[in-house]
């Protein structure tokens, strides 16, 4: 399957957005491990904005960045997260240990895995289909396959956002996600004037590491940060080959043409 990349969104430690992170990803500027500050979304009205969580803001931030130059109201979307809103799950499971459990209604409706997808469609007035998926630590590869098949099936553009929040202290051992991270790719038809990804589901294979040690140290901290080797290739504006871990021990082979 061949798809083109129309735009990229990014947020991670020391990576505030794709444009400013590009020299870092291309190896022209040193990476500084500054903590992630998740900006509030500008797309939702104040009342709705107050109800958003870090998970929703993380997803919407990169989705917004990757769609500044297109019509958001028609775009199909794939929201890919290994775990969903772990902060809410922690709070609800805590509440359920009480003798008279009281679950917050807003927290409960935001607990669904597709809460970012729902907020995105509301924020953009977008009636197009939206989905929310998981592939555990191979969520990025699963999301790419889902978004690419959607693009192939209907043409046009498809937004992929992959994101996970870091674990609360309670979950640090059980779910070792130590940094928040999010990446968005807006996919469209393969063609000239834009980088193209050729995707093949492989039998198995070792994932491609990052070229730079500082980024390689980040790659394992979050399922969405598995995108870093691909982002390095895209930032350099060169061709290349990247292997990602796919679910069930398979691999996703990606050939990048600049």
């Amino acid at each position: 399957m061949k798809v083109g990349i129309a735009a990229i969104g990014l947020l991670g430690p020391g990576l505030a957005d794709f444009a400013s992170a590009r020299p870092v990803l291309a190896g022209q500027k040193a990476h500084e491990l500054t903590p992630v500050a998740i900006p509030p979304t500008t797309l939702l009205p104040a009342n709705e904005r107050r109800r958003t969580t870090d998970t929703i803001r993380l997803a919407l931030k990169v989705a917004e960045e990757a769609t500044t130059d297109c019509d958001r109201s028609q775009l199909r979307s794939v929201f890919a997260s290994s775990s969903g809103d772990m902060d809410i799950i922690d709070r609800i499971c805590e509440a359920l240990t009480q003798p008279e459990p009281m679950v917050s209604p807003v927290q409960f409706h935001n607990s669904v895995h597709n809460a970012p997808a729902g907020n995105w469609s509301i924020a953009t007035g977008n009636p197009a289909p939206a989905t929310a998926i998981s592939g555990f630590t191979a969520t990025l590869a699963a999301g790419l396959l889902e978004a690419a098949t959607l693009q192939q099936a209907e043409g046009g553009e498809v937004l992929l956002a992959a994101y996970d929040v870091a674990s609360m202290p309670t979950f640090r051992r059980a779910r070792p996600v130590t940094e928040p991270f999010a990446v968005a790719l807006r996919l469209g038809p393969a063609g000239a004037r834009r980088p193209t990804l050729e995707l093949t589901l492989g039998e198995a294979g070792d994932p491609t590491p990052c070229r730079q040690d500082a980024l390689e140290a980040l790659r394992g901290t979050n399922p969405a940060a598995r995108a870093l080797p691909l982002l390095e290739v895209l930032a350099r504006g060169e061709g290349g080959h990247v292997t990602l871990a796919a679910p069930l021990g398979r691999s996703l082979e990606i050939r990048v043409t600049p």
């Binding site: 895995h113 809460a115 469609s121 509301i122 977008n126 998981s134 979950f171 059980a174 589901l201 069930l248």
Partner: protein, 394 residues
Amino acid sequence: MKPLVISAHTLTSANGTGRQANADALHQGDSGLRPCDLDSVRLDTHIGRVAGVEDIALADHLAPFQCRNHQLAELGLRQDGFAEAIGTARERYGAGRIAVLMGTSTSGIAATEQAYHRRDPSTGELPPDYDYQHTQNMFSLADFVATRLGLRGPAMVVSTACSSSAKVFADAERFIAAGLCDAAVVGGVDSLCGMTLYGFNALQLVAPGPCRPLHTERAGISIGEAAGFFLLEKTDSGAAGPRLIGHGESSDAHHMSAPHPEGLGAARAMEQALARAQRPAGAIDYVLMHATATPANDRSEARALARLFGAHSRAAGTKGLTGHTLGAAGAVGVAQALESLERGFVPATAGLDHPDPELELDARGAAEERDIRHVLVNAFGFGGNNCSLLLEAA
């Protein structure tokens, strides 16, 4: 779209384990809803609980997956020769050419709820035997099903609340069309847990008694649990059976937990399913509605039906039988529609002695015997996430 053959399937719900028990309940309108008797939940409500889930032990390489959701999945996979049918398909296509696409809303969250009760009192740490990856993580359902059935095709879990296990049928169609696989195992599993029972209760969407879809006095949902699985193959594979001929997906873009009042998103999903199948609205024998039995949900969906099919269209709602099985609702709806296609009846809408006249639907408390060729199955979820599937008799 190119249709897909549903060559094997199975359903386990509060109506019983396997197809026969579910078909009987669907035909006779026998509700599986009972007063809530879960140890961990003290709410005055009815639930659709599957008998025997706790007795399932996952052994050997499946042991890490032990939790209510995967116990229910295992119980479901043991029915109707489904696992054996997948074994035959695996021989034919190869383990790597069969996709595993599952829907769930809360996965194995009950394992995490239990682990929170057993946290270290001094450090707050979760107990050392708690296995997040194989129980609560969203993907663990697809991981379990693939591991259990020996499959290695493209795999993922779709989790879009109550449309989850309807959307996996659309994904299977796209994955097969793109050449990623030759066949797909799709399905949905969701199990009873404190989070959904207390959560829906907090939203004041839970009925005190058994839920009554489409009824004048409907007062909210009853939560249930279920596991449904299907094998989808290409029509040129030689496989025989009923067919998936259309699917439609849409977003309400309206509200996180309330449907669009006019059912615009629901109507769009149904329209797309008809368009993909190239069938007119008049070809549909009846709509197996999402019909959760909240006042707003049923009203919104009825308006969507009126938009497409006119007033008093034939419809049925089955959540009075099984409860609302959330992420498994799409799989339950498809399995029920398949029974009605094969055996020739419109399902009973359990407890419907006073249909709400405002809904302007032709839904009935008893099953109606007649040949059925086409059923549209709806599944709608939080976040305004809609999916509609069009099924055709063999």
